[in-house]
């Protein structure tokens, strides 16, 4: 009997190029959590910069001395920072030589981006004479002849435009690091990246020129072009509530994605990309994950509603107190930031007292 020879395909298998299973995961639920976390991240960062104009930042104030055209724009750096973080995650999924190939490709594109307008390569005309041999003539008999060579044109205006463009991109990278880290953290399951993204928002926010344009929106007063719509402190306060809730949602969902994925990962032997569970076992794990996540979402929804209601009361109670009849409004600056923090501290103290009485020490019975 003749042996049937199967020809090995020269096309590499997709599994050998990229670990796409890491992207989709084994459980659709976890994939869905990651998408929701990404939306939450996008929303929080975008909202934060809507209220917290990056043009007010001290970074923006001082960096132009080093980098000209420093003009961070949330519409650019939030989306592109996120895309960059996500692309970096996709890059980490590639295997071995393909990873190297992408690095080379990226370097080539960056090189082309830098060199394109500055070095304009063109086939020139007969500008440089060359000595060539004459056909059919005696040996060593040569003559001068025009020969086409490549010449370099230096496009000065194009170069300057490109440098300016690069600087704007660099300036957006400083603020874009936040969504970059967040996107990478969510998809690559890196807790430190998520924590760093939140931390950087706070740090970048802290380097802020306080309320420079809160009262006077004049460009001469602010030192830069003001935004079309400036916000009052009350709008900032209510905006802060949404930002705070957004932070909570982002932190909670991204850590939930990590937590539940780690739960599923434990069934995967070290070094393997998929678990060795049977279909029935996988269904059982998926069911457990569903139960856990639904319970989690219910808890989160209820808690966010309560938190929102309580925070609204705590932050806005000063306004009502200060506008009521009586002497209390004369005692301290109730409507100011110190008044808000003071009221909140009293509220937290009361909650602490309450917790002392209703929160009995939990004890697990011995077996």
């Amino acid at each position: 009997m003749e042996e049937i020879k199967t020809k090995k395909s020269r096309m590499p298998k997709i599994d050998n190029i990229i670990n796409y299973k890491d992207f989709f995961g084994e459980y659709p639920l976890i994939f869905a959590i990651k998408i929701i976390s990404s939306i939450a991240l996008f929303y929080v960062i975008y909202e934060f910069y809507i209220y917290h104009n990056p043009l007010d930042s001290l970074i923006t104030q001082y960096t132009p001395k080093v980098i000209a055209n420093f003009k961070p724009n949330p519409n650019i750096f939030v989306i592109w920072g996120f895309i960059a973080g996500f692309s970096f995650y996709i890059f980490t999924l590639f295997k071995g030589k393909y990873k190297l190939l992408i690095i080379i490709l990226a370097l080539a594109i960056v090189g082309q981006y830098i060199s394109d307008p500055a070095l304009d390569w063109q086939v020139g005309e007969y500008v440089i004479p060359t000595k060539v041999e004459i056909n059919g003539a005696d040996a060593d008999q040569t003559q001068w002849k025009w020969k086409p060579v490549k010449i370099i044109y230096d496009d000065k205006s194009g170069t300057n435009e490109r440098i300016a463009d690069a600087k704007i991109r660099v300036s957006n990278m400083i603020f874009g690091i936040v969504p970059f880290l967040g996107a990478y953290g969510i998809w690559k399951r890196k807790g430190w990246a998520i924590a760093a993204s939140v931390g950087l928002v706070v740090i970048i926010g802290f380097l802020y020129n306080p309320n420079l344009c809160l009262e006077n929106y004049d460009a001469a007063y602010c030192g830069y072009d003001t935004m079309e719509k400036e916000l009052t402190w009350k709008e900032y306060l209510s905006g802060g509530i949404f930002i705070g809730l957004g932070f909570v949602i982002y932190i909670e969902l991204s850590y939930a994605a990590i937590k539940y994925e780690n739960y599923a990962e434990q069934f995967k032997p070290a070094g393997l990309e998929t678990s060795l569970l049977s279909k029935v076992q996988k269904k059982s794990v998926a069911k457990t994950l569903r139960t856990l996540f639904v319970s989690y979402l219910v808890n989160l929804g209820v808690m966010l509603f309560i938190t929102f209601s309580v925070a609204e009361i705590v932050i806005n109670i000063n306004y009502y107190l200060s506008t009521t009849e009586g002497r209390i409004q004369d005692s301290i600056e109730l409507q100011g930031p110190y008044g808000i923090v003071f009221t909140s501290l009293i509220f937290f103290m009361l909650l602490g007292f309450l917790r002392m009485f209703i929160g009995a020490e939990y004890d697990v019975d011995d077996n």
């Binding site: 909570v248 808000i340 697990v364 019975d365």
Partner: protein, 414 residues
């Protein structure tokens, strides 16, 4: 109890609030206060946390090497609270999980009872325990938790693997292995056929071979091999030097497996078996028989640890006065690092004992691990071969046991 996450979120929230105060930033103040409110309100969730009781059930108390043990956890919420429960059962580092997981995360409803299972495999003999169990009851956001370490310890033993010995090794007509006190080669009452002889008055009619009568025309009876009970001493070398190699591939591990195999076979044939191990001291399991005794020997073998450097001559000098005269001794030793071996054998044989040796070669493991250069390895091999030849010259049987060889085949060549 506060989790790291709760501390980080609360710390961040306080920082935001204070930073807002310093920089007069309303956005920071309100965002910080919202996060702080979330943390403070979450601390109330543990008021409704479940009250959990756990129970562990295992498929067996003892297994053999590479055997599996199934563990089942039954978790019951005995209260009205609901929440997330994390359970982690501590395993010995040598254990390999083959099914399920020793960790689980559950959402417990009031009065709910759930269970989860996992199986694990232990590749090496020894005494192990499962537990303690770490139990964590926490809120949905991992901010606050109550942890308890349940001292629910399940101890179990992993016995050395037992191989099935081929019949001819134990029931040989020229008993190489068990010569001495046991007259195996004599005719007597037994079950195994030995020969035919003519009928003499007094023979039982039950022993008459009727087919032979039909063929030869005269009464013939079957003779059987006499099966006597004997005392066998298993002598195991557990010195530090016997731990050369790694994992299951060490002379000590191989010796333990061989000792377990022989003990099982000998006890199955209703013999008395004793086990003596020597390393830093001499440990004995006295002569006895039966299933219970096998359990004792296997338990003792599971406890053997490589330590000390007692020489064979000293061990035998100490031991021989207590061994019934002429009993066969089976020695399991790599014969390494002991200059008293020749003398020990001479003394023992001169007193009427016989020693059968099963010697796992430690050089094979050294070679596998590429720890000895070629020349020294060659010299060591020659030395070992000389030692084995010297023992054989006493008329004793020695099995030169190479790595990856079965216990069964060791004495066949010798």
């Amino acid at each position: 109890m506060w989790s790291k996450k709760a501390v980080a979120v609360a710390g961040g929230a306080i920082f935001l609030t204070l930073a807002g105060l310093i920089r007069l930033n309303y956005l920071f103040i309100s965002a910080g206060l919202v996060m702080l409110t979330f943390v403070v309100l979450s601390s109330f969730l543990d008021v409704w946390m479940p009250n959990v009781k756990i129970r562990r059930e295992t498929s067996s108390d003892n297994i053999f090497e590479n055997g599996s043990i199934n563990v089942k956890f039954i978790i019951k919420n005995t209260g009205l609270g609901l929440g997330f429960v994390e359970i982690y059962d501590k395993l010995p580092p040598q254990a390999r999980i083959t099914k399920g997981s020793n960790y689980t995360l559950l959402y417990m409803k009031p009065w709910q009872e759930v269970s989860f299972e996992y199986s694990l495999k232990l590749p090496l003999r020894g005494h192990y325990h499962l537990g303690p169990v770490r139990l964590r009851v926490k809120d949905a956001f991992d901010l606050f938790y109550n942890e308890k370490i349940e001292q629910s310890i399940h101890s179990f033993s992993v016995f050395p693997q037992i191989e099935v010995l081929e019949e001819q090794i134990i029931k040989s007509r020229v008993p190489k292995l068990l010569s001495g006190a046991m007259p195996l080669n004599l005719i007597g009452s037994g079950t195994e056929f030995y020969s035919l002889r003519e009928f003499v008055p007094g023979d039982s009619l039950r022993s008459v071979n009727w087919k032979a009568l039909a063929k030869k025309g005269k009464m013939m009876v079957n003779e059987t091999v006499r099966e006597d009970v004997m005392d066998v001493i298993l002598l195991l070398d557990a010195r530090e030097v016997s731990a050369v190699g790694g994992g299951r591939d060490t002379p000590l591990e191989m010796s333990c497996r061989a000792a377990a195999t022989y003990a099982k076979q000998l006890l199955d044939e209703r013999n008395n078996v004793a086990l003596v191990t020597y390393g830093d001291s001499i440990k004995r399991v006295d002569l006895d028989r039966g299933e219970h005794h096998l359990f004792k020997i296997l338990t003792s073998l599971s406890s053997v640890r490589p330590e000390g450097n007692l020489k064979l001559e000293i061990v035998l000098k100490d031991l021989l006065p207590y061994i019934p005269s002429g009993s066969p001794i089976i020695l399991f030793s790599s014969l390494d690092d002991d200059h008293t071996i020749s003398e020990a054998f001479t003394n023992t044989i001169s007193r009427g004992y016989s020693i059968t040796t099963l010697s796992p070669s430690s050089l094979d493991f050294e070679e596998k691990m590429k720890r000895i250069p070629y020349q020294p390895l060659l010299i060591a091999r020659i030395e070992r071969e000389n030692m084995i030849s010297e023992i054989r010259s006493f008329g004793m049987q020695v099995g030169d046991w190479k790595a990856d060889e079965a216990v069964n085949t060791v004495l066949q060549g010798g």
